[in-house]
């Protein structure tokens, strides 16, 4: 709605500032993306070279020697994450159900606040706590302790996303089920939870992606191991731990392997996040829940 007769009232100075600001902002957006691209591409570049079958399946070689791999770390991480899921997911979903269906009151607010606080606790502090509670009791570092620490870290994410997804299920669905004479608990489990299930799975996957790369909580719980370990009560190697140890070591070959390990880890995590994004997008278009 510009009147061509009226002389433009925006002075040159303001126009210049506007143009400068716009350009700067666009440039900044690229600046932010740059590190991501840089990191990921460098990772692939350095990691691919060292990635081979032996890396994925072998044990670490003694320090200073060439060869060896991070097989035990990959398997160890897998087991630790399994324990984490077994602990974190039921607790998270249960709490989420509580908050959504029974928690629209001040008790619910307290639990919600607790979840947020727990989310913000530094992972190293969680590691320290689990050390004090589990490792000291068991008298050794263990796979279980590592799993517990990571499981605790999963809980707030799973709780909040479960709550959110359940709240998105319209009340009319609950009423329809109750009206049929379905008891409340069955309504929650078989109708509401089922409607929200795809969103809840998404939340779990995101929580998983977050803890899969965590190192600090494992420092004093799983501790690491040069050899294979499948027993829950013994120290266990984990991929992030090995990457850390190798990275700060003085050996070039270990540095190489650290990049390979990082590549494996990043593929796992980014893969999970990408799958989540794809599924969410399609899920929303299909109108689940």
């Amino acid at each position: 709605m510009r009147s061509h007769n009226r002389k433009s009232q925006v002075g040159i100075g303001r126009k210049l500032i506007n143009a400068a600001a716009m350009t700067l902002m666009t440039g900044t957006a690229f600046l932010v993306i740059a590190p991501l691209v840089a990191i990921l591409s460098y990772l692939v570049y350095r990691g691919v070279g060292a990635l081979n079958w032996s890396f994925l399946t072998h044990l670490p070689a003694p320090p200073g020697e060439l060869g060896g791999g991070m097989g035990n770390g990959i398997v160890g991480s897998g087991l630790i994450l399994l324990v984490a899921i077994v602990i974190g997911v039921p607790l998270g979903i249960g709490s989420g159900i509580f908050l959504a269906e029974y928690g629209r009151n001040r008790y619910g607010n307290l639990i919600r606040f607790t979840a947020d606080v727990l989310n913000g606790v530094p992972s190293i502090v969680i590691g320290m706590t689990v050390y004090g509670l589990v490792v000291v009791t068991q008298k050794h570092f263990s796979l279980l302790a590592g799993g517990i620490a990571l499981g605790i870290m999963m809980v707030p994410t799973v709780t909040r996303s479960t709550e959110e997804m359940l709240l998105m299920v319209p009340q009319s669905i609950r009423e329809a089920a109750l009206g049929l004479g379905v008891p409340r608990w069955r309504t929650t489990v078989s109708v509401v939870l089922r409607s929200a299930s795809s969103g809840i799975v998404t939340g779990i996957m995101l929580a998983f992606a977050r803890v899969a790369g965590e190192t600090a909580p494992l420092l004093f719980t799983a501790f690491g191991n040069q050899f294979w370990n499948l027993r829950p009560d013994q120290p266990t190697a984990a991929l992030p731990l090995q990457i850390f140890t190798y990275a700060i070591s003085p050996f070039d070959d270990w540095h190489r392997q650290a990049w390979a390990g990082a590549l494996v880890l990043i593929v796992l995590i980014v893969g999970t996040v990408a799958v989540v994004r794809l599924v969410t997008f399609r899920g929303m278009l299909r109108g689940a829940a």
Binding site: V10, R14, K15, I17, N18, A21, T28, A29, V32, I33, L36, I39, Y42, P90, L91, G94, S95, I97, F98, E101, Y102, Y107, F113, D116, V117, L118, G120, V121, P122, S123, I124, V125, I126, M128, T129, Y131, G132, L133, V155, T159, W185, R186, A212, T215, L219, F220, P240, I243, F244, A247, I248, H255, A258, W259, A262, I266, I269, V270, V273, R277
Partner: protein, 388 residues
């Protein structure tokens, strides 16, 4: 003034059944046709059947229709009655889960306090202002770590906040629609990269770049500030600040995005209507209103930076000293725990480290609570469901 005919589908009940109020004549000249029961059927039979929606009243009960409608003689399906206990049990399980969540947090707090008691008792709060950390000599002063944490975190924020806010503004206001999803995915991805990989990249890529190019440049041009003195190692406070900045950008950006989207359209339009340029609209109409929320996001980012362990440990140099120059190596609260906890000898040493952990816990608790409060106030507790 349409005349409304009120017809009943007319099924007569045996007299005396339900509340029959007797027959009375009712006349209302403007709106009704007055009917007596006697005239009713005569008039009705003269009316056209309008589209099947008006029914001619039957004065006899309708003939029995097909077999299916007869009350069936088949046995009713037995639907098992659920036990009432099940509801109670389910509620109990769910409440237990919620209580466990609370118990975990409580346990963390209790553990931290209990195991740091020795050190608290011994040093009290002087612990955090003494500047010598020499466990071998029995000296536990945590000031270098406090300094390291604060400097690296604030440096990170100084670098990250402008970038994050700009990216957020860009993705919500300026970015062409099609690029929005990829852009926000990219920022999300930055948040997904594990700390240890940032550290790895920091050691082998960032540190050399800083050492070879950035730090010499800074020393030459900004050396007068006193912040860029000493030998450029690459590893040090500056590296830690830069890495932390990259890690903090996604948090600040996503919160900023949410609060910016929550600013109502009218605010933007009002500013534009006054003849503002786009940039001015963003500054006055959007940022000004979203200030509190952005501050909340910054504080959340601060919380993250303070608690960040691995990446910082790998690039900060791990030297417990207080130095003015950003080139110098340092040490943070989280890093000292990571490096020395498993090798701590002696109860006092361990207790001192736990006390550091307690401090971290309390600080992040405070910071997060404050941040949530600010963010909730702006977005009224509802996360903006915006799809980039």
């Amino acid at each position: 003034m349409a005349t409304a005919l009120y017809i009943s589908p007319g099924q007569f009940l045996p007299a005396g059944d339900f509340r029959d109020h007797g027959i009375s004549l009712y006349v209302h000249a403007h709106f009704h046709i007055a009917l007596t029961i006697a005239c009713y059927s005569q008039i009705m039979s003269a009316l056209p059947d309008a589209g099947g929606l008006l029914r001619l009243p039957d004065l006899q009960p309708p003939p029995l229709r097909s077999e299916e409608r007869k009350p069936a003689a088949r046995p009713r399906i037995h639907i098992p009655m659920p036990s009432r206990a099940a509801d109670g049990a389910f509620t109990a399980v769910v409440v237990l889960a919620a209580i466990t969540l609370f118990a975990i947090l409580a346990l963390i707090a209790i553990q931290l306090v209990a195991h740091s008691r020795l050190s608290l008792h011994q040093f009290g709060f002087r612990f955090f202002v003494q500047s010598v950390w020499d466990p071998v000599a029995g000296q536990f002063g945590a000031l270098p770590f406090v300094y390291g944490t604060l400097v690296s975190s604030f440096l990170a924020l100084a670098l990250a906040v402008p970038l994050a806010v700009v990216v957020a503004l860009f993705s919500t206001e300026l970015c062409p629609r099609k690029l929005r999803a990829p852009l926000s995915f990219t920022v999300e991805l930055l948040a997904a990269i594990p700390s240890v990989i940032y550290g790895l990249w920091g050691i082998f890529v960032l540190a050399p770049i800083l050492r070879l190019y950035v730090e010499p440049w800074l020393a030459r041009n900004l050396g007068w500030t006193g912040l860029f003195e000493g030998a450029p190692f690459g590893i040090g406070m500056l590296a830690a600040g830069v890495i932390l900045a990259i890690m903090v950008i996604p948090i600040v950006a996503s919160i900023t995005r949410e609060v910016v989207i929550a600013v109502p359209r009218q605010q933007r339009e009002a500013v534009l209507a006054l003849g503002a340029t786009r940039w001015e609209m963003l500054r006055l109409g959007v940022l000004r209103n979203a200030r509190a929320g952005i501050l909340g996001g910054i504080i959340l980012g601060l919380g993250r930076a303070i608690g960040e362990t691995m990446a910082v440990t790998m690039v900060i140099g791990n030297t417990p000293q207080i130095a003015k120059s950003l080139f110098a190596p340092g040490y943070t609260l989280a890093s000292v725990i990571a490096n020395e906890f498993s090798e701590a000898t002696g109860d006092l040493y361990l207790s001192a480290l736990v006390e550091i952990g307690l401090a971290l816990f309390l600080v992040t608790l405070l910071v997060n609570a404050l941040a949530r409060l600010l963010v909730w106030r702006v977005t009224r507790g509802m996360p903006a469901r915006a799809h980039a």
